[in-house]
């Protein structure tokens, strides 16, 4: 390969999957199993499996495998299958750009090249919201980490980030880290959550906090970070209904570490660059029921599409995307016209997909806007009730999936999903 003359090597692949985490692995496997012989997966890390590699706690795969696996084990199930199918992978390779006509520029040790893809599956996952994103006032000492970064340091790099920690945000990663740090000899003072309810799973509240006597303070947030060198402590205050801190409740909590578990943002810079239409609520692409975006041949799945609560659903969704991407390259389109809009109504934050064909069975994923008990999720087309699912408990932190048969939406011109 001679690059001295200024040319850039270019290769062609039928299906290119960007990201080798749970979504990318399942999508690549599904594309291959759907008969596509020319699948390439691009992973920026040195190993496949994505964020699962640092999630060493158990609880993955209950739905898919009926076992409570750790993250690395769950990943390994898919990696083994991926290897058995002899799918091509480029590890330690980062995608620098993606064009609307599916030309991908990648960089790896020693090589810079272009890949022309028949179809692209976006499976880049998400990143953590940072201190800057939530505008926490105060100084800038060391010792403030996102929970996922701290998890990476502890579980992959053998590095302890601190000895006396507080956690802002009751998302699952923060709860898991509260237990992990406690078991490794650190003191976790408390978890603070600005909302009136936890955004983590009940199981994690019990097993990560209650088991170890770590208090969870709801309606409370961090109002200041204190320390010139290392973190010396945080100021916390209760918040009113408008989520604004109540000054007279402010107090100082000494600690050397603050972990932030304040939400995840789909990692969609490449997606935007390719001209894909975005959903402002999910932060991911707008897709139809084949998981294709408005840009023909570009698909999206997993946490880059919308943040999931369970990895099992990431794998299921990615499998669908992989299947349709293979179909796209085999037939030139997958491509039933998707003309029936699906929109969120009362009590529903978002629905995905946003358009369906009505010609095949599909799943609506959604999240509700607030916690409720004894409600129903209802899918409607005008006055007609298409489906109704009773839920004893609805929680914004949990994703809900509604399986729908094509027969049930026959004749519908639009669908709306509401909580009743």
């Amino acid at each position: 390969m001679n690059m001295k003359n200024g040319t850039i090597p270019t290769i062609c692949r039928e299906v290119v999957v960007i990201g080798g985490g749970p979504a990318g692995l399942a999508a690549a496997i599904a594309a291959r199993e759907a008969g596509c012989g020319d699948v390439l997966l691009i992973e920026r890390d040195r190993i496949l499996g994505g964020i699962l590699n640092q999630c060493i706690h158990d609880g993955f795969g209950l739905h898919t495998f009926g076992e409570a696996l750790s993250g690395p084990e769950y990943a390994d199930r898919y990696i083994s299958k991926f290897r058995d199918l002899q799918i091509e992978a480029m590890e330690e390779t980062i995608v620098l750009s993606l064009s609307r006509d599916r030309v991908i520029e990648v960089s790896t040790r020693g090589t810079f090249q272009r890949i022309e893809a028949g179809a692209v599956i976006l499976a880049m996952g998400c990143r953590e919201r940072t201190r800057g994103a939530i505008s926490i006032p105060g100084s800038r000492p060391s010792g403030v980490y996102t929970a996922g970064a701290a998890q990476n340091f502890m579980n992959l790099e053998n590095i302890m980030v601190g000895k006396k920690a507080c956690i802002l945000g009751s998302g699952d990663i923060g709860l898991i880290m509260a237990r992990r740090m406690t078991l490794e000899g650190a003191t976790v003072e408390a978890v603070f959550e600005i909302l009136p309810y936890s955004s983590g799973l009940p199981r994690n509240i019990q097993q990560c906090l209650n088991d170890y006597g770590i208090p969870l303070h709801l309606n409370t947030t961090v109002t200041g970070i204190v320390g010139t060198g290392r973190l010396e402590g945080i100021r916390v205050a209760q918040v009113g209904q408008d989520k604004a801190p109540i000054p007279e409740t402010e107090r100082f909590v000494p600690c050397d570490t603050l972990l932030l578990s304040v939400g995840l943002i789909p990692e969609n810079e490449l997606t935007r660059e390719a001209g894909v239409d975005m959903d402002a609520v999910t932060g991911g692409a707008v897709v139809d029921d084949s998981f294709m975006t408005n840009v023909p041949g570009i698909f999206a799945c997993g946490n880059v599409l919308h943040v999931h609560d369970l990895v099992d659903w990431v794998s299921v969704e990615a499998g669908e995307a992989g299947k349709y991407a293979a179909c796209y390259v085999q037939n030139g389109s997958c491509a039933l016209p998707c003309l029936i809009p699906v929109k969120p109504g009362d009590g529903v934050r978002y629905t995905l997909p946003r358009k369906v064909s009505g010609e095949r069975d599909f799943v609506i994923s959604l999240r509700v806007a607030a916690p409720w008990r004894d409600r129903s999720i209802v899918v409607r087309s005008g006055e007609r009730e298409v489906a109704r699912r009773k839920h004893m408990r609805l929680h914004p932190a949990e994703m809900i999936r509604i399986d729908l048969r094509k027969e049930s939406v026959a004749g519908c011109s639009s669908l709306e999903v509401v909580v009743e």
């Binding site: 590699n53 750790s70 078991l183 799973l201 088991d211 004893m392 949990e398």
Partner: protein
């Protein structure tokens, strides 16, 4: 007698289960309310009388492509014994390679479980 309240974790319904408990030293469940299924009742009894947990941790590895291997118990251990199990895990170190499922500690702290590796660590040359 006392009562304790749990959010059931058996299924997504998340029932609020109220349990009446006699004798807080070695708790005995006298009544379970709020569960819609039998699994919920069994779970709540267990949570009060002898809660069981799977625990995950790390063990150092020499000459590996990662400095640590992740491990977990392959059967749950009593919550009350976790600190002892952790003590045993902390005493172990390994040399690469390590395979998924390799038994790192048998019956830690006398518990009916094994600590197994949950990732591959390859030997570096």
């Amino acid at each position: 007698m006392s009562t304790r309240e749990f959010t059931c974790v058996v299924c997504p319904n998340g029932c609020t289960i109220v349990v009446d408990v006699d004798n807080d030293e070695t708790p005995v469940v006298t009544r379970v309310q709020g569960n819609v299924c039998r699994r919920g009742e069994a779970w709540a009894r267990q949570e009060v009388e002898n809660p069981m947990r799977t625990i995950a941790s790390s063990v150092p590895v020499n000459n590996g492509d990662f400095p640590l291997v992740s491990v977990r118990t392959n059967r749950p251990v009593p919550l009350a014994r976790i600190r002892e199990v952790m003590e045993e895990i902390r005493r172990v170190s390994l040399s690469a390679p390590v395979g998924i499922g390799d038994v790192i500690v048998s019956s830690p702290a006398g518990c009916d479980t094994e600590v197994v590796a949950t990732r591959r660590v390859r030997k570096i040359v």
